[in-house]
């Protein structure tokens, strides 16, 4: 039954209005509620941003054979010494279809019989980039969403759309990473860095959410020492100032709270912020409350000595130093690195440090929400060979991400017995938008694809799609099933807000736990039910 004001009016005026209203789900019942951080939901979110605007079909392809013939260029030798593009006979299901949904389809550029091979056969060199998704059977928790309208073709605006669901020059809703960190805070209070950005660029914006949900920037272990350690050995200015003790904690309004481990100086500074409450207006008090809570959190964080925790936590434990597919070491590939061409191409190692930090943060169980800005390549090419180049870069980057997820799959989740780190983490991979399709130039295009993997995600599903009729620059998004915020089922093209909403729903948030201006829906089929 569709929920509309007319229907509500009828319900109001009916003799059995309460019963009717209950059937709409507006009297407190929420048929889809799981509860933030419930036992069913993953306990952390990892978002991975691939900058510049990628072309999603370079690895995962939902098109028919006819569409591939029309819209994917014929295979060709690229400037980077690899072959770009594919034909329809190279596109294969990642695994058999699941639950009546289309399976994820991947464009194979490797030797099916020997996936680690870099041999040149019939003038074409095998390229294993992308095979990680097969090697680690990542389809088991994988959903691709195609045809998402970012409603903008500007970089910053598209990035913000991906982060919070609403395109614009500035955030008009908190970044979903912060929303999730805030929602999980009470369930995982011992995570001292609830929200983390592993790069200083594009840090998630918490807007008006509590300070605890805003992102801490932790680009590297080396950077963390001067920022998060109160050890005089590392930071001499703590000499004599790091004596801590448990002290009675107070909320900003004055009510007693839980005890906190603070130095005398930290206790004094938080108390100072609290004591001048009411000296100005409510907005200033809100600012003071953020300062009060933030300073208290910093003290607690320093007390936890997260630097030592991170230093003592291994990052990579399971992946071999040399990338190995199908039991064969891939020549020129490293643990996360990959190489274009053979001897004359350098190994792309830019992801190593960031991935290492992400793994340590997860394995040490320090964070509920981690945002990663992929450092290696910006896909904003705008050149005659841009699509070719990006074809390879996207495959390289996604292969590297696949290996990261492989490591997560092999690692037990901390404090969640029986689960792997992959099971316990929702992974969202996105860019700010897509690119015009290869025969249509190399420019920005707002209709794109997003990738969900890991905890709470259904197995091997390809959702949404592209309306390739009358292509002009790029496609429109095809209609897909959503549960609107009214909790009514609908079929319509997808938009950025739906991605943000679906992320929140997979993390166990209810519709009333977050707000995205302009409306939103949960994409049906992403969440494992």
């Amino acid at each position: 039954m569709k929920l509309s004001r007319r229907a509500l009016l009828k319900a109001c005026m009916g003799a059995t209005q309460l019963g009717l209203l209950n059937s709409f789900g507006v009297l407190g019942r929420n048929a889809f509620a799981q509860g933030a951080g419930s036992d069913d939901a993953p306990s952390r979110l990892l978002t991975i941003y691939v900058p510049g605007g990628y072309h999603p079909l370079n690895l995962f392809c939902p098109l028919s054979a006819e569409e591939i013939a029309q819209h994917v260029p014929q295979p060709v030798g690229s400037v980077l010494g690899e072959h770009a593009w594919y034909t329809s006979d190279q596109v294969e299901n990642l695994a058999p279809a699941n639950g009546g949904y289309r399976p994820v389809r991947i464009a194979r550029t490797w030797d099916a019989a020997n996936p680690g091979s870099r041999e040149r056969v019939n003038g074409r060199k095998y390229m294993p980039m992308g095979y990680a998704w097969r090697e680690y059977a990542l389809h088991e928790q994988l959903a691709l969403v195609h045809g998402v309208d970012q409603q903008t073709a500007a970089h910053n605006s598209g990035y913000i759309a991906s982060m919070c669901g609403v395109a614009g020059p500035d955030y008009r809703a908190p970044a979903m990473q912060c929303v999730v960190a805030n929602a999980l805070y009470d369930r995982y209070p011992n995570r001292p860095l609830p929200c983390v950005a592993v790069d200083g660029r594009g840090v998630p914006n918490a807007l008006g959410l509590p300070t605890r949900s805003a992102a801490s920037v932790v680009p590297s272990i080396a950077s963390l020492g001067p920022q998060l350690s109160d050890s005089p050995a590392a930071n001499p200015w703590w000499t004599g100032l790091n004596d801590r003790m448990m002290r009675p904690g107070f909320h900003f309004q004055g009510q007693p709270g839980s005890d906190v481990n603070l130095t005398a100086l930290e206790a004094h500074t938080t108390e100072t912020a609290r004591l001048i409450r009411g000296a100005s207006n409510a907005a200033t008090d809100g600012w003071l409350e953020k300062l009060h809570d933030g300073l208290k959190d910093v003290g607690s964080l320093l007390a936890r000595d997260v630097v030592t925790a991170l230093q003592n936590t291994p990052g990579v434990e399971h992946l071999p130093e040399q990338c190995t597919y199908g039991g064969q070491v891939v020549t020129g590939y490293e643990r996360f690195g990959y190489r274009f061409g053979l001897a004359n191409g350098g190994v792309q190692r830019e992801n190593d440090a960031h991935f290492e930090m992400v793994l340590r943060l997860m394995k040490a169980d320090l964070s509920s929400s981690i945002h990663l800005y992929m450092p290696a390549h910006n896909h904003d090419s705008h050149s005659a060979t841009g699509h070719q180049t990006n074809f390879l870069w996207l495959r390289g980057e996604f292969d590297s991400i696949g290996r990261l997820l492989g490591e997560m799959k092999a690692t037990p989740a901390p404090n969640r017995p029986g689960r792997s780190l992959f099971d316990d983490t929702l992974v969202l991979v996105f860019s700010e938008f897509s690119r015009t399709w290869p025969h249509q130039g190399d420019d920005h295009w707002p209709i794109t694809s997003m990738l969900y993997a890991g905890g709470g995600i259904a197995s091997n599903r390809s959702l949404g799609g592209f309306d390739t009729a009358n292509l002009s620059g790029g496609p429109r998004g095809a209609a897909a099933d959503v549960i609107e915020e009214t909790q009514m089922r609908n079929t319509r093209p997808l938009k950025a807000a739906d991605i943000a909403a679906t992320t929140a729903r997979v993390m166990g948030l209810r519709f009333e736990d977050f707000f995205i201006p302009g409306g939103f829906g949960e994409i049906v089929g992403v969440r494992r039910t």
Partner: protein, 382 residues
């Protein structure tokens, strides 16, 4: 209260609380059916008599509106008064260019709509509405840079004639002819945020000046030939340098100085990072460290520095309590820019100075006092 108002109340309570939509604003599918909403006579204050709020698209809504909504939220829009109804009805054509963050944010809020547009004689001539710029622009009769609104192929009037707007020109004229007196207070909003924290550059400048530090002397080790060019090496505890500041510094191997500056909210224009004046965890983590590190440097300068005007750096509370308190007053005035009351000095002296003096000596105590003043809300705010 008649049946209509009872229904209004019921719809408001339920409709405006469905899902998360307690917001006002324009939903992508939001419909505001002014035409079908018979409000009756408008009170002199322009406020509608339904608990101060009215759902603008609840009753007698056109069937097409319901069916066309395609299952979206049906626009849970609650107008606060007649002006707000008009604002919401105009919004589909106007808000995308005149919303929050634009240079003419008429549609950012009801208050913005009233203050910037409705009661602004530049746009609305209350004695002769037809000659006001607002109506002229909507009709395509403007004479300035912009001759019509919205921009594009058709003016609002043309769109309205096609039935593509949610309010007709006649309804707009009727609203302007019977414009209620402005009830919202003009001028600054006393409830608006007036406190912001210092910007990163302001923090750095204030620290250097108030701590008596010198950037060249205290944070730059040498300028010497290295490779084919001169380079600057940073020194001292936790230097702060913007990544945009000087190309020569960007070649320094110490990237953490720029990271710290970014944590304090400095923009990185070359890397596309905007300024942040939020109280983020990274900001506070960095401030805590920098305040202690730079205070240690300043205290270490002893009597050659600026922190000890009223007392010797190694004076003890046992011998020189009054001098210490006088120096606390001096430091408070130096850092906060205001005179401290005795309660504040008591807290600084008792909770901070005496505590650290007893355990670690006077240098540590002065370092803690200094850091406490830098973390003081009044130091951090502007």
């Amino acid at each position: 209260m008649g049946l209509r108002n009872i229904v209004f109340c019921a719809i408001f309570v339920l409709g405006c609380s469905v899902g998360t939509s307690t917001h006002r604003g324009v939903d992508s599918a939001g419909k505001t059916d002014i035409q079908s909403l018979d409000m009756g006579p408008i009170p002199a204050d322009g406020r509608v008599p339904v608990d101060g709020k009215v759902p603008v698209d609840g009753v007698a809504i056109r069937d097409a509106d319901v069916e066309d909504a395609q299952g979206a939220s049906d626009g849970e829009l609650c107008a606060e008064n007649r002006n707000d109804q008009i604002r919401l009805a105009l919004a589909p054509q106007c808000a995308s260019c005149h919303g929050t963050g634009t240079n003419q944010p008429f549609f950012a809020s009801l208050r913005a709509f009233e203050d910037l547009l409705v009661y602004n004689p530049t746009y609305v001539d209350r004695d002769n509405p037809e000659e006001g710029l607002l109506l002229k622009l909507l009709q395509g009769r403007g004479t300035g840079t912009y001759t019509q609104m919205p921009l594009g192929e058709a003016s609002f009037m043309t769109l309205a004639e096609r039935g593509e707007t949610e309010i007709t020109m006649d309804e707009i004229r009727a609203w302007l002819s019977n414009l209620a007196p402005q009830t919202s207070r003009r001028g600054p909003d006393r409830s608006a945020p007036t406190t912001r924290r210092l910007k990163a550059e302001e923090i750095k400048r204030a620290l250097l000046a108030q701590l008596g530090l010198d950037e060249e002397r205290d944070f730059i080790a040498r300028v010497s030939p290295r490779y084919a060019y001169s380079t600057v090496e940073l020194k001292g505890p936790l230097p702060l340098y913007s990544e945009d500041r000087a190309p020569i510094l960007s070649r320094s191997r110490d990237k953490t100085a720029a990271e710290r500056m970014a944590n304090l909210g400095a923009p990185g224009w070359l890397s596309g990072r905007k300024r942040s004046n939020e109280l983020t965890p990274s900001f506070l983590q960095t401030l805590v460290q920098v305040s202690q590190a730079w205070c240690a440097l300043a205290v270490g300068k002893g009597e050659g520095g600026v922190l000890f005007r009223e007392v010797s750096p190694d004076a003890t509370s046992e011998m020189s309590a009054d001098d210490i308190r006088r120096n606390l007053h001096y430091l408070y005035l130096r850092f906060i820019g205001d005179r401290a009351n005795e309660n504040e000095i008591d807290a600084l002296y008792g909770d901070v100075f005496l505590h650290y003096e007893a355990h670690h000596g006077s240098s540590t105590a002065w370092q803690a006092v200094c850091a406490a003043l830098i973390r003081h809300p009044r130091w951090l705010s502007y």
